[in-house]
């Protein structure tokens, strides 16, 4: 066991996979010589050399297109899109190319690649460098969508993504890069499509992703300590494949479901899960499903305004306290 930061975990995860398989290559803007703008890929160039760890121009279409061409002809590329907001300028690959190539060629074309990207807010970057856009990827058939909340999950889920035969969009949370956690020694390989109960409870189920997992956990501790409300917190970890069984089982036990989503309100990932639970577990529910999200606004830069916008532990506590009974 060693304590590692979330950003160090990214580099360790990539290194683990590059060491294992020389078909794994890595490309992106400032990822090699500069070690990444978030310093999440430091040391990889020295370790694996410039043919496997490559700096690119600011050409997001070229980055994702090149990753796809390499993947469909036998490499296992990892591509970085620095900020997830930039997915908008190369969305063709995410929406039209990666996910549809296998289907429309009747299984001839394979696209095993990983797009790592810095997602999420709380860094005061304003409306075009702070969004949580995992729902942009979740809505597209053919993609897998992963968002780790801890350093250990970064390594394990990244390894699972690199080894996965389908295109995976891997959302790292920018505001988690500095956070630390215990990481086991040796190779770590996790499984996509497995949610994790990080705090068992009996009164309500809270589901969350990435940064929101930590806020949900803090809220749950306070609800227990201050109000005697015992919440079960689930880290969803992977939106596609989606581990609905863990969520449905938890709702069957607690009778209440809260989603904590960093995305703006409309069509957030929690809406889909809410709809499934309403459909399949209606009679397990003792009250309405409640979504706690960022309001349907662009994110502001000012810290006090951004804090107001993103779901906070305070807001989660208040919402659950007032709606539970």
């Amino acid at each position: 066991m060693a304590e590692l930061s979330y950003r160090e975990a990214v580099a360790r995860g990539i290194a683990q996979e590059m060491k294992r398989d020389e078909l794994v290559v890595f490309l992106g803007e400032d990822v090699a010589a500069a070690g990444g703008v978030f310093k999440a890929t430091e040391g990889l160039l020295d370790q694996f050399g410039p043919t496997r760890v490559r700096d690119t121009p600011i050409s997001e279409q070229a980055i994702l297109g090149a990753a796809m061409g390499a993947a469909m002809t036998g490499l296992r590329p990892i591509a970085e899109i620095m900020f997830s907001d930039f997915i908008a300028v190369c969305f063709d690959y995410i929406a039209n190319e990666f996910p549809k190539s296998r289907y429309m060629t009747n299984g001839q074309v394979k696209c095993p690649l990983v797009v790592r990207t810095g997602n999420g807010g709380a860094a005061r970057f304003g409306a075009q460098h702070s969004q949580s856009v995992e729902n942009w990827a979740m809505m597209i058939p053919g993609l897998k969508v992963v968002a780790p909340s801890t350093p250990s999950d970064v390594i394990g889920l990244l390894a699972a993504s690199v080894r996965d035969p389908d295109p995976v969009i891997f959302f790292e949370h920018k505001s988690l890069y500095a956070t630390k956690g215990e990481v086991p020694d040796g190779e770590i390989v996790d499984r996509l499509g497995t949610a994790r109960i990080i705090r068992p409870g009996k009164d309500a189920t809270i589901i969350a992703l990435a940064l929101m997992v930590h806020r949900a956990r803090e809220a749950a501790e306070r609800l227990a300590d201050e109000h005697g409300i015992d919440c079960e917190v689930i880290d969803v970890r992977s939106l596609v494949p989606l581990d609905m069984q863990t969520i449905l089982k938890s709702v069957a036990k607690t009778g209440r479901l809260y989603t904590v989503e960093e995305n703006p309100r409309l069509c957030g990932w929690g809406a889909e899960i809410t709809s499934i639970v309403a459909d399949e577990a209606f009679y397990d529910l003792d009250g309405p499903i409640v979504r706690i999200t960022t309001p349907h606004i662009p994110l502001p830069a000012a810290d006090n305004l951004e804090d107001l916008a993103l779901p906070s532990a305070d807001r989660i506590v208040a919402k659950i306290k007032t709606t539970l009974n």
Binding site: Q61, G65, A70, N96, R102, M104, N106, G107, L242
Partner: protein, 341 residues
């Protein structure tokens, strides 16, 4: 690479191309012409559904490039990709079957006219989002460079593509990484319904942009299969030798409209007639006769192709539509579409 004996097989001693290759070039052009005409006829009979974009008039480019390519080289095509797919040796019944959305189609009707793909023939896809496949071809070329494979990725696109961002990103990317890729622009003078010169800052949409990326400006007569073949052979040799990418602009003309919905009424009077005189197949037929190939040999190529197209059409008509159970196959690598447990 051409064998020396093929190069010297020409009837004239100064023929650098050789008889065998010339006959192949002619056969490919004829097959593409007849297959496209058949696709159009089948559309009129409502047997080809959806949309289709024909390469009538542009056959010399598909034939010339494919003939210059090695078996392991890769083709990346556009939605106007029937010609390039056929030129790599994909059976015509599989192409027509896909256009007719039958179970015998190349992708069993799951892709349609705009997405013809045959990985076994090195046809790595036909892409219907303008420009998308230029970066993808770069990626395939990067793999060749990384693994030391000698194959070259060839990416076809139209004049309209030169005004989209991915074209410029891909050219810059291919040059800085020195990738074994050939960007093959077919300038048929129209961006869909609009004359290309109306919407382009330079006269030659691809070739005039080459200098911006440190590339040689290359323009060829796209209606002359020999010229296409020679020019492409040189570019492929350069890429294979580690010399990096090339950009070729082939001037040509689309005999029909942009797609099946387009009667091409925007063309000035007489323009089509002028280009029909420069029909690539007519040009090549005359040249074969000049080279001493006899009329019977030429005729037999045409007749054999016609009967091949006929057989293919009947096969496709007899093929059932795709079975319903493939609706949800191959969304994910496990063969299915499950996104949850």
């Amino acid at each position: 690479m051409l064998q020396e004996n093929e190069r010297s097989e020409g009837l004239l001693t100064n023929d650098d191309i050789g008889l065998k290759t010339r006959l192949k070039l002619y056969r490919l052009q004829v097959e593409i012409r007849q297959a496209e005409q058949r696709a159009y006829d089948l559309f009129l009979q409502n047997l080809v559904k959806g949309t289709s974009h024909l390469s009538l008039g542009q056959e010399a480019i598909a034939a010339g490039v494919a003939t210059a390519m090695e078996p392991g080289d890769l083709s990346f095509c556009t939605y106007r990709g029937h010609a390039h797919t056929l030129a790599r040796g994909v059976p015509v019944e599989q192409v027509l079957g896909e256009l007719m959305q039958r179970d015998n189609g190349l992708m069993r009707g799951k892709g349609g006219s705009m997405h013809l793909t045959s990985v076994d023939h090195g046809v790595m896809g036909s892409y219907a989002i303008i420009g998308a496949h230029l970066p993808i071809a770069c990626g395939a070329a990067w793999r060749a460079q990384y693994t030391g494979s000698k194959d070259v990725s060839v990416c076809f696109f139209g004049d309209g593509t030169t005004n989209i961002g991915a074209f410029h990103e891909a050219l810059n990317f291919a040059v800085i990484w020195k990738l074994p890729v050939l960007f093959m622009c077919e300038n048929n003078l129209y961006m869909e319904y609009t004359p290309i010169e109306v919407v382009t800052a330079v006269e030659h949409p691809a070739a005039d942009r080459a200098a911006a990326y440190g590339l040689e400006s290359i323009i060829v007569d796209g209606n002359d299969a020999d010229e296409v073949y020679r020019t492409v052979l040189k570019a492929l040799d350069k890429a294979r030798a580690g010399g990096g990418p090339s950009l070729i602009e082939a001037k040509t003309y689309r005999h029909s409209g942009h797609s099946r919905a387009d009667p091409a009424k925007y063309r000035p009077e007489g323009e089509l007639d002028k280009w029909l005189e420069r029909d690539p197949i007519k040009i090549y037929r005359t040249r074969l006769l000049e080279f001493g190939v006899n009329e019977d040999t030429i005729k037999s190529i045409e007749d054999e192709t016609a009967s091949k197209i006929e057989t293919a059409t009947e096969l496709c008509k007899a093929s059932p539509p795709p079975p319903e159970d493939i609706l949800t196959t191959d969304v994910y690598a496990d063969g299915g579409w499950a996104w949850r447990n």
